[in-house]
Amino acid sequence: MRNPWTRTGNYKTSYAQDTTIFATYSEQASLVVFLVGMLVLPRFLVRGDMQILDLILIYALAVLGLNIITGYAGLINIGHAAFMGVGAYTAALVAPHLPFWAVLPVSGLVAAMAGAVVGIPALRIKHLYLAIATLAFQLIFEWAVGHSPALEQGGAMAMPRVVFLGYKVGFKNHHYFWYYVTFVVLVLMAFAFRNLLRTRFGRSLVAVRDNDRAADAMGMDPGRTKVFAFALGAFYAGVAGALYAYWSRAVVIEDYSLMISIKFLAMAIVGGLGTLVGSFFGPAFLELLDINMETFSYAIKEIYNPPGVDVGSAIRPLAFGLAIVLFLIFEPRGLANWWRLLRSYFRNWPFKY
């Protein structure tokens, strides 16, 4: 007799059963518990914590997009923050005229167009060459924004205040409001991300990553797939950029610089490339590491603080870089692999097997 709550054996009799996301009721139940937990979480957090949580969720959304481009399609993207920036600047330009729930998809679509344009070289070049092309896009984007008077030359562009169903978002509820917005958007887009691999397009993404010539021979169009991958990943980044703009109340070019692009790549790697949970673990791990290192640098300043040295600005990149290097050398599959190991340990718990 099959126990629907745990995996007691292989009872799969159809293809649909084999590709299902939730094999057991307990997996569905734990997801519901997790979602409800996330919904009530803000009640127990203070404003400062909410700010960090918002940031992590917004970054998670952007990293999901990067995971489509780099994780699924295998196209190294060193310009993801620029896609996010395209979304953010679109949001800053259209926000005075549109309600916020319309601004998000518009920003996403504009970023997707930018993504498709950046993806065009992928028709011709790949691997390292493509990575360098995205790097060039990132630098050209920063320069172009820095020289556009319409975009305040990279300075602060203020975002308007949001009124939603007669509910004014002000100083006190700002982070709580955007937490829920980000959360809803993130759940929807994570759902799409998880299901992407079960679609025809998702399969061709992976096929093209693994061997684009073989994929071509099997009737897929590698060029189109790559351009679409860029567009889709950039859409995620664009929505994240719009959310970031609202959340930080202003659009500044520093938030979309090469440093941030590198941060996204690091988050994707530390979390585990091409995994859904990794897209959450990566941003959470690196952001918390960054915050803790800032606190830690005060402790170091007590011991080592020579003139002309800013320990704070030294220790943070140091920890960030070490995290990347150590993960790559010792756990290339990232935090998602630890999560997998943990889950498989508890799968039949408390029984041994």
Binding site: G308, D310, G321, V325, L328
Partner: protein, 297 residues
């Protein structure tokens, strides 16, 4: 017209720095197919080591420079041994990311010293003034930069054509399997390539120090400018690195000289190389001298 030639001359000077920096970059790529995002930090390490030795120990600039070259070579060697060797055979993204991570680590370490922020200039070791020819003036540091680059390239040319180690390195770049079966230690060649890249990077940093002074951001920025240079010249071509470096240097200076007036805020020179990079990638992805990869299923 003399304005044009003045821009051309300063372009050649900047270009020779790029050529040196790109040379090390190409060496690493040729030997081990690794793109080194930490190259700008190697440049910074070399330059600041020389500066620290010259100012705090009071060594002459020439001795400090020689020691800095050696030190950066050692840094390069151990970087390969410790961080790159475990990743042999891993996907490209891992290798790229490890060099990005290393860039961050080096950046943090440099910030731990007083050289992380602010501008520094090497003690004067050349006479003031310069040579003037037909209305174009070239200062002694600039002249030195070009001569130094020339000497360096000649030395490397000799190294690769004549010395056993250099020939072994070329063999590995050509065919790893075949060179391994002939008794070349591929591992050692990888590490040596990184050491040689460290030397050239440090040399580039020293020249920047002689021409315009040292600043961490500026030195690391050269590490980014290397990308247009190597793409234009061809990722795996040493003559390409030199030619590409000079061309990018000249284009950058001409763009800054003629276009800045039309663009609010200026700074055209910073972005122009990357526009060139995109154009090259679109129309001639393997650059001027790079080998075209032919792929089979």
């Amino acid at each position: 017209m003399s304005y044009f030639f003045q821009l051309l001359v300063s372009g050649i000077v900047v270009g020779s720095v790029y050529a040196l920096a790109a040379l090390g970059f190409v060496l690493i790529y040729k030997a081990s197919r690794v793109i080194n995002f930490a190259h700008g930090h190697f440049i910074a390490i070399g330059a600041f080591t020389a500066y620290a030795l010259a100012t705090s120990l009071g060594l002459s600039v020439w001795i400090a420079a020689a020691l800095a070259l050696a030190f950066t070579a050692i840094v390069g060697y151990f970087t390969e041994r410790i961080f790159l060797k475990p990743l042999v055979g891993q996907p490209i993204i891992s290798v790229i990311m490890v060099t990005i991570g290393l860039a961050s680590v080096f950046g943090g370490l440099i910030h731990m010293t007083p050289y992380g922020s602010g501008n520094f200039s090497l003690p004067d070791f050349l006479p003031e003034g310069g040579v003037s020819f037909a209305g174009i003036s070239v200062s002694y540091p600039q002249l030195l930069a070009v001569v130094f680059t020339g000497v360096f390239l000649a030395a490397f040319g000799w190294f690769f054509q004549r010395s056993t180690v250099g020939i072994a390195m070329r063999a590995v770049a050509d065919d790893q399997m075949a060179s391994m079966s002939l008794g070349v230690s591929v591992e050692k060649v990888f590490a040596l390539a990184w050491a040689a890249a460290g030397v050239t990077a440090a040399a580039a940093g020293l020249i920047v120090g002689a021409i315009s002074g040292l600043n961490l951001e500026g030195l690391v920025g050269i590490g980014l400018k290397v990308f247009p240079v190597v793409i234009l010249g061809g990722l795996d071509s040493i003559p390409g690195a030199v030619v590409g470096g000079i061309i990018i240097g000249i284009l950058e200076n001409l763009a800054a000289g003629y276009l800045d007036a039309y663009i609010p805020g200026g700074g055209t020179g910073d972005v122009f190389p990357f526009l060139v990079l995109l154009l090259v990638l679109w129309f001639k992805p393997h650059g001027l001298f790079g080998t075209e990869e032919i792929e089979r299923v």
